[in-house]
Symmetry: C2
Subunit: 246 residues, 2 copies
DNA sequence: AGGCGAGAAGTGTGATCACAAGTGCTTCAT
DNA sequence: ATGAAGCACTTGTGATCACACTTCTCGCCT
């Protein structure tokens, strides 16, 4: 009954719904985030992490049942992700994870190349005169990169996809650029599902060390090197996706 | 009762709700678009056209009443526009047209400069070996540009804002790049309201002839000239906005 | 007369029900 | 056994109601 009408195979991330720290509004009542926001965030994480295959059917009622909520929050979360291009309607007006086409892939790569280097430069700019913040960021990124290397060594493509998104999220959030970040997030939401499949198919071995140049460029505050590192990273990802057939 | 709780001044675009060709599904039944889609499209048009001032309060029930629909379609349209950054929550969890800050403005300008030239190049590419399509596009753009000049001559900033968005929409849709277009659309949705105010304040006189270089570049299929024309246009718009205080 | 508190109206959010349309499965006839 | 017709179920969409919270206003008390 994994929030899809048919097929209904139990997915591993179903536990995400229960082990998360959501329901404890009894905790000092300091923050009352809406239910639909919670549903949205978890669904988004699942999509960016590639835990849902492209074309994967979703349904309002199924998602609501899976999250133990009413249909309304599930509806709003789904509509929100549709607006961001992560989900889409099938020919019969049902909801599914957006499928990838060669054209869409080229567009996503082009847009990522156009936008993400700007985030990188902004990270350097915001941390320019705050060495502590810069070093803290580098350390956090190194930590994630280390975990990434472990995932690569294990051939754990699921962990890789999740950690890879964590890496860029941590990095780009430091850019302090919510508008551009939202655009990039939309792109990641669209690329996440197929990315996960590609990694699983091509293996993680060729991805070792991909993130080190970025960290190094941050440490030495070299905008050109950072720009090149980001673009290289995007190109590697996108060319990897392009190798699979749709 | 213009879909806001207080203030409630009658807005000119209220007629948009009634004179549109929405309800006639009796017409050959070829297309049954959902109500929320209709509400969304009209609200989006109003926002991009700058007919709603930044900070303008909206409400689900007010919008529903204005459109003569139930609260559900209004809700979904509002949530969708929130997801795209056009609307936002106020401190008291009410919905309003997103306000502009200097930081957001810089980000929007940066993103537009990063993305829109790509759409321009794609327009040239898609019409490269189809002179008829290219000339047709140029003619349609010229038509809009002529109307724009009339609006400028009249000092009609409302018509200018609407036609200007029509111009770019017509142009960018020819790029056949839905993913990138969606990103740009999000940026326009965020810039629309403030843009309209700026035009109204600074006047339309300085904007004459802004669109001709783009049309000319299309006709001679000159990518570099088109790129420069687009960037110039964006810079003019953004510097205009930057002149006003928030 | 002026400040203030209680109530009324309005808000977003969530839940539930109704309905048309689509899907797939069962079942009956050949 | 195989085909198709019919039915049961699921789907998205829209409508309506309930509820907690904010805001505004009108009337009351000092």
């Amino acid at each position: 009954m994994a929030f899809a009408p048919s097929g209904c195979y139990k997915v591993a991330w179903a536990k995400l719904l229960t082990d998360g720290e959501s329901q404890h509004d009894a905790r000092s009542g300091e923050r009352a985030v809406s239910i639909n926001e919670e549903v949205y965030k978890r669904l988004r994480k699942a999509i960016i992490g590639g835990e849902l295959a492209p074309g994967r059917a979703l349904s309002v009622r199924g998602l609501a049942a899976e999250f133990g909520v009413s249909t309304m929050p599930a509806r709003e979360a789904i509509r929100r992700l549709i607006a961001l291009g992560a989900l889409e309607f099938t020919a019969s007006r049902r909801v599914a994870v957006a499928t990838m086409t060669k054209e869409k892939l080229l567009e996503i790569g082009e847009a990522r190349l156009a936008l993400e280097p700007h985030l990188g430069i902004r990270v350097l700019r915001t941390t320019l005169d705050d060495e502590d913040a810069r070093e803290d960021l580098a350390l956090r990124l190194t930590e994630i990169a280390d975990s990434l290397e472990e995932a690569i060594a294990r051939g754990d493509s699921a962990a890789y996809a999740s950690l890879n998104s964590d890496f860029f999220y941590t990095f780009y959030e430091a850019a302090n650029a919510p508008v551009i970040l939202a655009l990039v997030e939309s792109l990641w939401l669209q690329a996440g599902p197929i990315m996960r499949i590609v990694i699983g198919r091509l293996g993680t071995s060729s991805l070792s060390g991909c993130h080190q140049p970025m960290i190094a460029a941050i440490r030495v505050i070299d905008g050109e090197k950072l720009d090149a590192a980001i673009r290289d990273n995007i190109k590697v990802s996108m060319s990897g996706i392009a190798q699979v057939d749709f």
